[in-house]
C-alpha cells in the first residue's frame, strides 16, 4: 500500500511534534520525504527553529529590590 504524500498545509501543523520526536515513524518518513522536495517547508521549519531560539533569548526581568527584600526578610523570620 502506497502512503499518501504529505502536503504543506499538513506539514506545518506537525513541526512541533517533529522537533519533539513524537511523530510515528510512518508520519516522520512522510514529513522527511516532503521536506526533501519543498523549499517552502524547509524554510518554514527553519523559521520555526529560529522562533524557538528567539523565544529562548527572552530575558526575565530583574527582581524588584523591594520584593526581593521582602522575600529575604521572610526567610530570616522563619529561621
Amino acid at each position: 500500500m502506497s502512503r499518501a504524500a504529505m502536503d504543506c498545509n499538513e506539514l506545518v501543523e506537525l513541526v512541533t511534534a517533529y522537533l519533539d520526536g513524537s511523530l510515528s515513524s510512518e508520519t516522520r518518513a512522510r514529513f522527511d520525504e516532503h521536506l526533501l522536495g519543498c523549499d517552502g517547508c524547509e524554510n518554514y521549519l527553519e523559521q520555526f527553529r529560529v522562533t524557538i531560539a528567539t523565544i529562548g533569548k527572552v530575558k526575565d526581568e530583574q527582581l524588584d529590590p523591594v520584593f526581593r527584600a521582602r522575600l529575604l526578610e521572610a526567610f530570616r523570620d522563619w529561621r
Partner: protein, 207 residues
C-alpha cells in the same frame, strides 16, 4: 536537567538557614516564577504574593525535601499548586480548560485550494529569516517582538511556551507540572510558537 548531586550542598545550607544561599536561589528562580505565576493570577502584586508563598512553603518544607527532583522542578510544582489555588480565589479559571483546537496555525489562504494542480501547497513559499548576529539590533528587535507576542498568548499557551522554550523544561516535566496530556501539551506549544513565528515573519516582511 540534572544537578541533584550539586544541589545537596544547597539543600543542606537552606536547612541551616543560610541567608546567602537563600538569596542566591531567590535571584536565580524568582523572575521566572513570577512570569509563570502571572499566567494564573490577575495582577503583578498577586503574582508576587504567590511567589512569596512558594518560598515560605519551600523553606518550611525543606526538612522533608528528599532531593528526588531538582530544586527547580520542586519549586515550580509548588508554584503551580499555589498559583492555581489563588486563581480559584480570584475566580479565574485555574484549570485553563484546554479547548480542542481545530483551527490552523497558518492562514489557509497561504495554500493552494482544492482543485488546484497542487492543492495544499504554498502559493508563495515562506522566505528564510535573515541571519541575526547575537546582540545585533535586529536580534534585539526580534526578541522584543517574541516577548510581546508571548504576553498576548492565551494563558495556558503562554505558560507552556514559557516553561518549554524560555525555561527549558522538557515535555514530560511540563505535562506533570500542569497535569495535561502529552497531546495537549504539544498542541498548546505548537500554537504558541506558531503565533510568535507569524509575528516575526510579519515584522521581517514589513522591513
Amino acid at each position: 536537567m540534572t544537578g541533584t548531586v550539586d544541589e545537596s550542598a544547597l539543600i543542606a545550607a537552606l536547612r541551616t538557614g543560610d541567608d546567602a544561599v537563600f538569596a542566591q536561589l531567590v535571584d536565580q528562580y524568582s523572575p521566572s516564577m513570577l512570569r509563570i505565576a502571572r499566567g494564573y493570577v490577575k495582577s503583578h502584586e498577586s503574582a508576587e504574593d504567590v511567589v512569596q508563598d512558594v518560598w515560605i512553603g519551600v523553606v518550611k518544607g525543606i526538612a522533608k525535601f528528599e532531593g528526588r527532583s531538582t530544586i527547580r522542578t520542586w519549586l515550580f510544582a509548588v508554584l503551580v499548586k499555589i498559583a492555581k489555588a489563588r486563581a480559584i480565589r480570584e475566580r479565574r479559571d485555574a484549570e485553563h480548560a484546554v479547548a480542542v483546537f481545530t483551527g490552523r496555525t497558518v492562514d489557509p489562504a497561504r495554500f493552494r485550494p482544492a482543485g488546484d494542480q497542487l492543492p495544499g501547497h504554498w502559493k508563495e513559499p515562506p522566505a528564510p529569516f535573515p541571519q541575526t548576529p547575537e546582540g545585533s539590533m535586529l536580534d534585539k528587535e526580534l526578541i522584543a517582538i517574541a516577548e510581546r507576542e508571548i504576553q498576548r498568548l492565551p494563558e495556558i499557551q503562554r505558560i507552556v511556551v514559557s516553561l518549554r522554550d524560555m525555561l527549558g523544561f522538557d515535555s514530560n516535566e511540563v505535562c506533570e507540572l500542569l497535569s495535561i496530556s502529552k497531546a495537549n501539551q504539544r498542541v498548546l506549544l505548537h500554537r504558541g510558537r506558531a503565533a510568535v513565528r507569524q509575528e516575526l515573519e510579519d515584522y521581517l516582511g514589513d522591513r
